[in-house]
Each structure stands twice: as structure tokens, then as C-alpha cells.
């Protein structure tokens, strides 16, 4: 299935949840409503013609204009097609609906995005820091992140 067809079958069902799309890019992507991630994802996974059963990667990105994004790279092992989903939120209100219940693999990726960028994935089963210590402050991959001078009262040497 080409990106065109994927877009059509999605827009027919979830008109407003599709905020934007770019189908002529080398890797075409769809921008989704961050609050309706789950239902779209469920459809993407379970629809016979789509069958996006494999969630390769979830990446958080800070676009440095107050906008954060979560980028989902999906693939289908059955039909061997790929699509990129994007969901954006603001730094002030970084909420995106979690898809961890749709793809188990998204669980840790979303935790990582939360850990490093502070994107809060709503309905995530276990949203804790994953790579950094549990008492770490701040989100290091945000572009406005200042490296702390002290960690737990200890001077960070460098």
C-alpha cells in the first residue's frame, strides 16, 4: 500500500484526527491529533489492508519553537509498507496519548521520550524515568536544557 492509499483509508475514517500530511517526502508522514493517537493506532494495527503490526521506533524531538513531537515509525511485516506518524504538543502542555497498549514495543520508547524530553504520554501504564536516575531533574534532550551544576548536592565535575 502506498502512503497515498494509507492516507485515504485513514482520512475516510478519522477525518479530523489527521491534522496534516506530507506524502511526497522520502518518508511520508501523517500528523495526528495527540489526543486521538490510540484509536488511530488501533485501526492502523488491526485493519486488514493496513496491518501495521510493528512499531519500529518512537522518537521524541524538541523543535525549539516551543513545540515537542513524538515520531512513530511503523512498519507492516505482512504488507511490507511503512508509514511515519507524528504528534505534536507544546512544551507548556506536553501531553500525547500513549500507544503502549497498542504496540508493546512503544512502552519503553515512550518512557524514554518522557525521560529525555518530558513528553507526558497519557494512559501510559508505567510512565517512569528509564535511562536517567529516578530523581533526575529536567529533560536533557530539550534544547533549552541547562546542564545542572549539582546532582543530589554533589558537584558535577567537568
Amino acid at each position: 500500500m502506498t502512503a497515498e492509499e494509507i492516507y485515504k483509508s485513514l482520512s475516510a475514517k478519522f477525518g479530523e484526527a489527521l491534522v496534516e500530511s506530507k506524502l511526497d517526502a522520502p518518508q511520508p508522514f501523517l500528523v495526528l491529533d495527540p489526543k486521538r493517537m490510540k484509536e488511530v493506532s488501533l485501526f492502523l494495527r488491526d485493519d486488514e489492508a493496513l496491518q501495521f503490526d510493528f512499531c519500529s521506533c518512537v522518537s521524541g524531538v524538541d523543535y525549539n519553537n516551543g513545540k515537542l513531537g513524538a515520531i512513530y515509525h511503523l512498519a507492516s511485516m505482512v504488507h511490507k509498507h511503512k508509514i511515519v506518524l507524528k504528534a505534536f504538543c507544546t512544551r507548556e502542555n506536553p501531553h500525547i496519548q500513549s500507544v503502549a497498549s497498542v504496540w508493546g514495543g512503544a512502552d519503553w520508547h515512550e518512557r524514554e521520550a518522557y525521560d529525555l524530553l518530558g513528553i507526558i504520554f497519557d494512559e501510559h501504564p508505567d510512565l517512569r524515568r528509564i535511562l536517567l536516575p529516578y530523581d533526575w531533574e529536567g529533560y536533557p534532550l530539550r534544547k533549552d536544557y541547562k546542564v545542572p551544576e549539582f546532582y543530589n548536592g554533589m558537584k558535577v565535575p567537568y
Binding site: P26, F54, S56, V61, H73, G105, A106, W108, R129
Partner: protein, 395 residues
């Protein structure tokens, strides 16, 4: 084969309360034990919080991040794209070549660089040698996990030969920095082809030896078959990839299914688990897939060595790599599975955002799912069979 299959071992646990026949309750305590971060069988600094009922695992909670070295943050602060490669080396330090290739490939695709055919061939040779080296460690350390020390040292003996080849190529034995954007750091040294061929002839009988000593050893099979069964659908849902997924019988290999390099020019097969000794997708299947993949890799190397073309080892690339504002996700098949690099460029000389989709990271996330209800010793077997490298999990 499927008729005689026995059911996977799942032990009955009785956490919380037990009622006696007279209705009185007996409270049994679960024991919470920390496996790691310093533990011989966690293959690095992984910490597993294990909830035990006697010897039976009730739950496993992995805690990672002890080896977090801010790879992604570093990458954003490099002065150019080339500088990221040494950091890629250190992600999955057991298959550095594969990491470098994945990253180089991502940048090359973003900039639409065509690499010369000699480079492609050498990359395949290096990646497959690296895959053998990495699988040797996986298989060898798995032997240690099961209490057999000798296979480990035999595996290391053979791996040394591969490292010798790498050393004569680029001077390093672990972190090579050999595959560069648009090519290689330098050409193969004279005599490499002969030595690599000699290695292939030397190595093939050793796989049989390993099989005799470990793979088909009755105790080893007893320990690994029917243990930690990963059903194919669960594996796919969790994004598991590589030999771990193929052990569950999923015929999926990015070298063939999302082609890169010149793998399509060679004759080789994707090895999948068949549930020969137990349930499909158990530890033994994952293990044997690695052993058989080594044989396939030898095949690929021999073919690639035979067709190695002459030519340049560096494509014509701009002095300073500045991709246009773009983004790309490229995935390759490393020894552990799908290694993906998501590169976002903003037109400057360093990546705006670089996300590494580490296969071991994702494979590890399925661990709690497949290890509930097994025994403590099985947990060691499962962790070993998933074959994680903590450098890659934590990046």
C-alpha cells in the same frame, strides 16, 4: 515435529495467601531480590528486580540506565556528522561495524550519496564478520549462563581470529571507526582476502564442534527448551527483532526484507526457529538461530570475497557534510536485530536530533512478559537468550 511438542513450563505460584483445608490462612512472603547491577549473568550493568516465590519468578522489573552515556545528546553537540561514528562504535560494542554502517547509511541516504561497489562489498564482509564475532559471544556467554565454561572460551578463540582480521584492517580490535560516511576509512590491507578465506575454512568445522559440545547437549537442551517462550505475535507487538524474533519462527530479516547494501546479490537463507526441541520460540530456538546464522554469514563472506571488485573506497562527498533540512529513519539488521537511526537535520553541520533505535533496548522490554512463572535459573537462561548488550540498551 509439532505433534510431540511438550507444553512450555509454567510453574504454579501461590503468592499472597494460602488457605489450609480448615480455612485458616497461611501467609507466604515473596522475596524481592536484586539481580544486578553487578551480577555475572546480566551481561553488564543491568538490574533486574525479581519478585520470587521460592525459586519461581513472579515478576521481573528491569531497571536500566546504568550505562547511559548520553549518546543522543552527544550527537547533537558534535561539530560535524563524521564525529558521531566513534560514538556509534560504543553503542553495541560487540558489533561496532554494524552500528557504523547503520549510521553511515542513514546519512548517505539523507544526502543521496552513492557508494562505490567495492565499498559495498567490503561493508558486507565486515558486517558479516562482525555478526559472527557477536554471535560467538552471545553463544559463548550463553554457555556460561548455563554453567558450561568451555564453549565460551572456544567461542572466544574463534572470535580472536576475526578480531585479528579487523586489527589488520583498521588497527583496532573492538571499536573500529572503519565505516565512514560515503565509504571506508581506508582500503583493505594486502593479504586480507586470503586471510579471510582461511578464516572461513577454519571456522566452519568449529561450528559443528560447538554444536556437539553445547547445542545438542542433553542438559543444555533440557535447560533451554520450553523455557521463556516468546510467541511470535507477542514478539512482533513488542517490536522484538533480530535472532530473538526469528527464534519465534518469524521469517523476517531486514537484510532481505528492507534491503540495504548488496545482500540481494548473495545466496543465503534467513534462519528461523522451528521448535525442534520444544515449543516454538523458546530459548533453544533463539540460541540455535544464532548458531545457524553464523553459518549463513560464512556463506555470505565467502561469496563476497569471491566477487570483491577493485576500485575506490571513498565516494565523492562534500568536505563538510551539511544535509538539507530533512529527516530520515534508516534501519539495518545488526547481530541483535533492527538498529534504526532517526536523523533530523536542520541544515547545519551536526544532527539536530539523532535517535538510535537500539534492538537490545526493545528486545529487553519483552523480558518481563516472557519470564513470569519461570524459575530463577530460567531467568538467567532467558536473559542470555535475548542477547542484550547494555551499551546499546542504555546508549
Amino acid at each position: 515435529m509439532t505433534e510431540t511438542r511438550t507444553l512450555p513450563t509454567r510453574y504454579v505460584t501461590h503468592p499472597g495467601e494460602l488457605k489450609t483445608s480448615s480455612g485458616r490462612s497461611l501467609r507466604t512472603d515473596e522475596m524481592i531480590i536484586n539481580m544486578g547491577p553487578q551480577h555475572p549473568s546480566t551481561h553488564g550493568v543491568l538490574r533486574l528486580e525479581v519478585v520470587l516465590d521460592g525459586e519461581i519468578v513472579v515478576d521481573v522489573i528491569p531497571h536500566i540506565g546504568y550505562l547511559h552515556r548520553c549518546f543522543e545528546k552527544h550527537a547533537e553537540h558534535m561539530t560535524n556528522y563524521q564525529q558521531v561514528i566513534p560514538y556509534c562504535d560504543r553503542m553495541d560494542y560487540l558489533s561496532s561495524m554494524n552500528n557504523d554502517w547503520a549510521y553511515a547509511l542513514a546519512v548517505e541516504r539523507m544526502m543521496k550519496i552513492e557508494v562505490p561497489p567495492r565499498v559495498e562489498t567490503i561493508r558486507v564482509i565486515m558486517a558479516e564478520l562482525q555478526r559472527i564475532a557477536s554471535h560467538l559471544i552471545a553463544v559463548g556467554t550463553y554457555g556460561i549462563d548455563m554453567g558450561a565454561f568451555t564453549p565460551f572460551l572456544w567461542a572466544f578463540r574463534d572470535r580472536e581470529r576475526i578480531l585479528d582480521l579487523f586489527e589488520m584492517t583498521c588497527g583496532a580490535r573492538l571499536l573500529y571507526n572503519y565505516i565512514w560516511i560515503g565509504g571506508l576509512s581506508h582500503d583493505l590491507p594486502p593479504g586480507f582476502v586470503d586471510k579471510a578465506k582461511a578464516f572461513c575454512t577454519y571456522f566452519k568445522p568449529n561450528i559443528k564442534e560447538l554444536n556437539d559440545l553445547l547445542s545438542y547437549n542433553e542438559i543444555f537442551v533440557k535447560r533451554t527448551a520450553n523455557v521463556g517462550v516468546l510467541p511470535a505475535d507477542v514478539g512482533i507487538n513488542y517490536g522484538v527483532s533480530g535472532p530473538t524474533l526469528r527464534g519465534s519462527g518469524v521469517n523476517w530479516d531486514l537484510r532481505r526484507d528492507d534491503p540495504y547494501g548488496i545482500y540481494d546479490k548473495f545466496e543465503w537463507e534467513v534462519q528461523v526457529g522451528k521448535g525442534e526441541r520444544g515449543t516454538l520460540g523458546d530459548c533453544w530456538d533463539r540460541y540455535i538461530v544464532r548458531v545457524r546464522e553464523m553459518e549463513e554469514s560464512v556463506k555470505i563472506i565467502e561469496q563476497a570475497l569471491a566477487v570483491l571488485p577493485e576500485g575506490n573506497v571513498q565516494a565523492a562527498i562534500p568536505k563538510r557534510i551539511r544535509p538539507d533540512s530533512a529527516e530520515i529513519y534508516v534501519r539495518t539488521e545488526t547481530a541483535r536485530g533492527e538498529l534504526g537511526f532517526y536523523v533530523v537535520s536542520d541544515g547545519t553541520a551536526s544532527p539536530y536530533r539523532l535517535k538510535a533505535r537500539a534492538p537490545a533496548f526493545v528486545n529487553l522490554s519483552v523480558l518481563p512478559e516472557i519470564s513470569r512463572g519461570c524459575m530463577l535459573a530460567d531467568l538467567v537462561a532467558i536473559v542470555g537468550s535475548v542477547d542484550i548488550v547494555l551499551g546499546e540498551v542504555d546508549r
